[in-house]
Amino acid sequence: MSSTEQGTSSAAPAEPTTAPESAAAPEVPESFYYVHGKDKVVHKVSAGALQHSALIHGMISNLGYTEEQAKANPFPFENIDGDILQMVVDWCNQHKGKPTPPEDTNLPKQKEKLFDLVLAVNYLEIKELLTYCCKQVAMMVKGKSPEEIREIWMIPTDAEDEAAEKEAKKRAGKEAAGETAAAAGDAK
């Protein structure tokens, strides 16, 4: 039941097209809300599907939007790529009002997007999807050697970690010195 449309702008979102509802339509009309990601594409999502996201559910409850207001003001998630948000919306729609199974076969298969998906899902606070994503991340290194794991997960060596730590300390020291100098300048 999800729908998406290439939005024109976040301020004035175009009318989203709605995908045909399933044959067994609910008796009570369902309320819909709108979200968009970095690409400004607006996604129409039912309140039931959005219940998966603790963040959006909280926003809806706090704002008390009417459907018209919701249409005029889609929730902006500028830190989430459009295709990632699409995956999230699809998952929420597929699992709307259903108990989530222990193993999710509908999980997105695009591994290259997995990292961004975990970050998005973590931000949107969708606990069940996060669980599946983390499992998927863990599966990436199943049966792999330390060298292979280091490559797959881009793990720095101890020497690289130490160098990065030194660099961070150096930067922090410079910043602190800069702030002290600025404060001294202000005082003069």
Partner: protein
């Protein structure tokens, strides 16, 4: 398709690690100090680690929880280990590691302070000091009957010092390397077993024994030594007697009356009960070829 796992939010990272198989976690822990610490935070437990020492090599048998593979056999070399998961062998390498770093690493990530058992197999030339450096502590030390090494005092006692219990399947004691030095190592239990070459025991060995549970099969001791031991115990000469149970399977048949000659005792449940003036009790069961002491 790389993914920067260490950039994930901590909770997500920990959840992903919790989903991992134990052996994938071990591999992850070997990537860097940071990954090792992350693995420690998962608080994954291990069922059992057993180390078998052969000539110039140590092999581990590791039994883990939450893993498809029940047992994994690990051969420890210098900076690498070979792992046998039952479907071929894998080689894992860790730069900067030597033979002595591997077992402490496994113990550390699984929050264990000691391995479950250290088994000395058919060793001829192995330097026991190296074993001690590789294995910080063990629950049970087993010396197998096919072990060829002649244990010199210092080496042997050093090895026993890392154990809580000791099981020796071969009479490795000599006049120089006397059994009393082994019986007074303050262990939780000692089990000596050699049917072909009995362990020679004297009164002094029993008097100085300070391990809690002692089983010796077979022991070579005379009735009069046992009788003197019981008389000294009755006099309370060894007040700080630590053993709570001692079983001696004897090489020859013994005369019960000779063992109990001149000692006051009561028969309780077919056992002789000896009561000392300070209230301590000793139940002694004497069979044809064995004597059991139970100190209360």
């Amino acid at each position: 398709m790389p993914i920067r796992i260490l950039s994930l939010p901590v909770a997500d990272l920990q959840y992903a690690l919790n989903c991992m198989d134990t052996w994938d976690l071990v591999a992850f822990s070997l990537c860097s100090k940071r990954t090792k610490n992350l693995v420690k935070f998962t608080v994954r437990k291990i069922k059992k680690i057993e180390a078998n020492v052969y000539d110039c090599r140590i092999c581990l048998t590791v039994q883990a929880f939450q893993t498809i593979q029940n047992f994994v056999f690990i051969g420890i070399h210098d900076s690498c280990i070979t792992l046998d998961f039952g479907k071929g062998t894998e080689l894992w390498r860790k730069q900067g590691f030597t033979q002595r770093n591997w077992i402490p690493h496994f113990l550390d990530i699984f929050h264990e302070s000691k391995i479950h058992s250290l088994v000395i197999m058919n060793v001829r030339l192995w330097d026991m000091d190296t074993v001690k450096q590789c294995i910080p502590k063990c629950q049970t030390l087993r010396i197998r009957e096919n072990c060829y090494i002649k244990f010199e005092n210092i080496e042997f006692l050093q090895l026993c010092s890392i154990a809580e219990n000791a099981e020796i399947e071969k009479n490795i004691f000599t006049n120089e390397n006397h059994i009393s030095k082994f019986l007074n190592l303050n262990l939780r239990s000692v089990h000596l077993s050699d049917w072909d070459n009995p362990f020679k025991l004297e009164l002094n060995d029993l008097l100085t024994a300070n391990s809690i549970n002692i089983t010796i099969q077979t022991a070579n001791i005379r009735e009069n030594e046992l009788n003197r031991y019981l008389k000294l115990w009755m006099k309370g000469n060894n007040i700080f007697n630590r053993p709570s149970y001692m079983k001696l399977s004897l090489i020859h048949e013994i005369d019960r009356d000779e063992v109990l000659r001149g000692i006051k005792y009561q028969i309780v449940d077919n056992e002789c009960s000896l009561n000392r003036a300070d209230g301590k009790k000793l139940s002694i069961s004497i069979q044809r070829n064995s004597v059991d002491f139970e100190f209360q």
